[in-house]
């Protein structure tokens, strides 16, 4: 049984002092239900998650207590992707016909505070100041620039594109374009990455209604089909965040593994994709993830970025809604935001940030600590 997305809802990302994370999730859920033309009472199941805003099943207190199986999902940056995979299986297996996936969050300002013990590390690792995701991303792109000839200007270009796309997206947090000069000249956080090259924890909510593909037209004229949804964790030897040591022999990371599995499952290749949403925790991540997901060779990004290929009007649009850089990263909602954006693009409903050419296939990718990656492929 194929699975279709028939309803999408979002609560604007950024800062909303008047609403809790849960309320933002409920807002997104109501929007998604309305988009599909269904009631909360029609949902047969739900999967959802948040990192800092409580249990997702508390959405029942907002939307109504209907007795359905509502399963809380917690999987870091891949929480949304994991909920989606669970929902996909629930429908594909024939167990359920229609259900809801939701993700929301509301984080404090500033870098995430990680607890060494939660990851099986000693207290010393945090005490000496290495429990920082930002350092990992900086060290990974530092090595990548050295090995593959990526310039510092290319990192600034990634961020400038994100803020430009954000300025076209009414649901984005950062809606002002920022020049490459200002990005490159902003405060250095972790060399070679400056302040404007990093995304920040933020707030937001996204929800999706999924159903059996053979019933999709009951709910919408523009169903979007979930062709694959894959989650992979790191194998031994991949270079990952929060690792006091790493193996001398490096293997491909979870992003490469998830991408390969997703393409195989969908029966398509990287060259078939029309629009890409790739994890851009910082500028360098987007650059590296282009190659890790199979969309170019290592090092080719320099030319692609310098020639504008990843802009909305380019031949390989990346992060058309402004990505994490312009939307911030509410952990529970972030991966679902990518799916929301691709559904908009494939429906042709993205307004000012709509890519030209009637895109048919969309790709989403998240990566997060401590080395997990989730990929989806959507088809109109």
């Amino acid at each position: 049984m194929d699975v279709a997305i028939v309803g999408i809802g979002i609560h604007p990302f950024g800062r909303t002092p008047a609403r809790s994370g849960l309320q933002q999730g409920a807002y997104a859920a109501r929007e998604a239900l309305k988009d599909a033309g269904v009631q909360w009472q029609d949902m047969q199941f739900a999967f959802g998650g948040s990192a800092s805003s409580g249990n997702a099943d508390a959405l029942g207190n907002e939307l109504g207590l209907t007795g359905i199986p509502f399963i809380n999902v917690a999987n870091g940056c891949a929480t949304g992707g994991s909920s989606l995979i669970a929902a996909w299986h629930a429908i594909k297996s024939g167990e359920h016909d229609i259900g809801l996936v939701a993700g929301f969050d509301k984080h404090d300002r500033g870098a995430f505070n990680a607890d060494p013990k939660a990851l099986g590390l000693g207290d010393w690792y945090g005490e000496v100041g290495m429990m920082m995701t930002t350092q990992f991303f900086a060290m990974k792109i530092q090595k990548y620039m050295h090995d593959h000839g990526i310039s510092a200007n290319t990192l600034a270009k990634v961020a400038a594109k994100a803020f430009l796309n954000g300025s076209l997206n009414p649901n984005a947090w950062r809606r002002q374009p920022i020049s490459e000069t200002e990005i490159a000249g902003s405060m250095m956080i972790n060399d070679p990455l400056t302040k404007f090259m990093f995304c920040s924890p933020a707030e937001g909510g996204v929800a999706l209604v999924l159903c059996r593909a053979d019933r999709a037209r009951q709910y919408t004229d523009t169903p979007v089909y979930l062709k694959s949804a894959v989650l992979k964790s790191r194998r031994f030897g991949s270079f990952e965040v929060f690792a006091p040591s790493q193996a001398l022999e490096q293997v491909d990371g979870p992003t490469v593994d998830a991408a390969n599995a997703a393409f195989e499952m969908a029966g398509v290749g990287p060259g078939d994709m029309d629009v890409l949403q790739l994890q851009d925790t910082e500028s360098g991540a987007e650059v590296m993830h282009m190659a890790e997901n199979g969309f170019c060779e290592h090092g080719e990004q320099e030319h692609l970025l310098q020639s504008g290929a990843t802009h909305i009007g380019g031949r390989m649009p990346v992060n058309t809604d402004g990505g994490c850089l312009a939307n911030g990263e509410p952990i529970g909602a972030s991966g679902l935001r990518q799916v929301y954006e691709n559904v908009l693009q494939l429906r042709g409903q993205a307004g000012q940030h709509q890519m030209p050419g009637n895109p048919r296939l969309g790709y989403t990718h998240v990566y997060g600590a401590p080395g997990i990656s989730a990929v989806t492929i959507l088809q109109r």
């Binding site: 500033g110 207290d123 945090g126 000496v128 100041g129 250095m188 060399d191």
Partner: protein, 140 residues
């Protein structure tokens, strides 16, 4: 004399006239890990030997931490006294790539591939007056 204590037991030999980082090495597949682990992440083996890692290696990658991290960061510094610090992975031949703080925080003086030595030095002073010792990598 000031008491000197290691920041964690078992990370390196201490006290010792010539301290060294300690790694576990799997008896089954030969892969090393730092810090010492009771089982092997490569092959799931549960028999490991503990060995001293080489004291010299090469810088694999690096960054500079330019702002003061929130707790659990505990260096004894205040926002006023905070000094940016280098962090990197140093490839220790035959062993592993170990992540550690660098003694150098000037990006102009760091380059991938340069030789680095492990050194053991005071990291902070605890309320009881003891010096807490940690490991650092220092350009040769």
């Amino acid at each position: 004399m000031t008491e000197k204590r290691p920041i964690a037991e078992g990370l390196f030999t201490w006290p010792s006239p010539q301290p060294a980082l300690l790694a576990s090495r799997c008896r089954q597949c030969g892969v090393a890990a730092f810090p010492v682990a009771e089982s092997c992440m490569a092959c799931s083996g549960q028999e490991v030997d503990v060995e001293e890692l080489p004291r010299r290696g090469t810088l694999w990658t690096w960054t500079i931490q330019q702002f003061m991290p929130k707790p659990p960061y505990n260096s004894g510094e205040t926002p006023e006294t905070f000094q940016p610090y280098g962090v990197g992975y140093v490839e220790l031949p035959g062993g592993v790539r170990v992540e550690g703080r660098l003694t150098e925080n000037d990006p102009q003086k760091l380059r991938i591939g340069m030789a680095m030595d492990v050194v053991f030095d005071a990291y902070r002073r605890d309320p009881d007056g003891a010096e807490i010792v940690s490991y650092f990598f220092k350009p040769v």
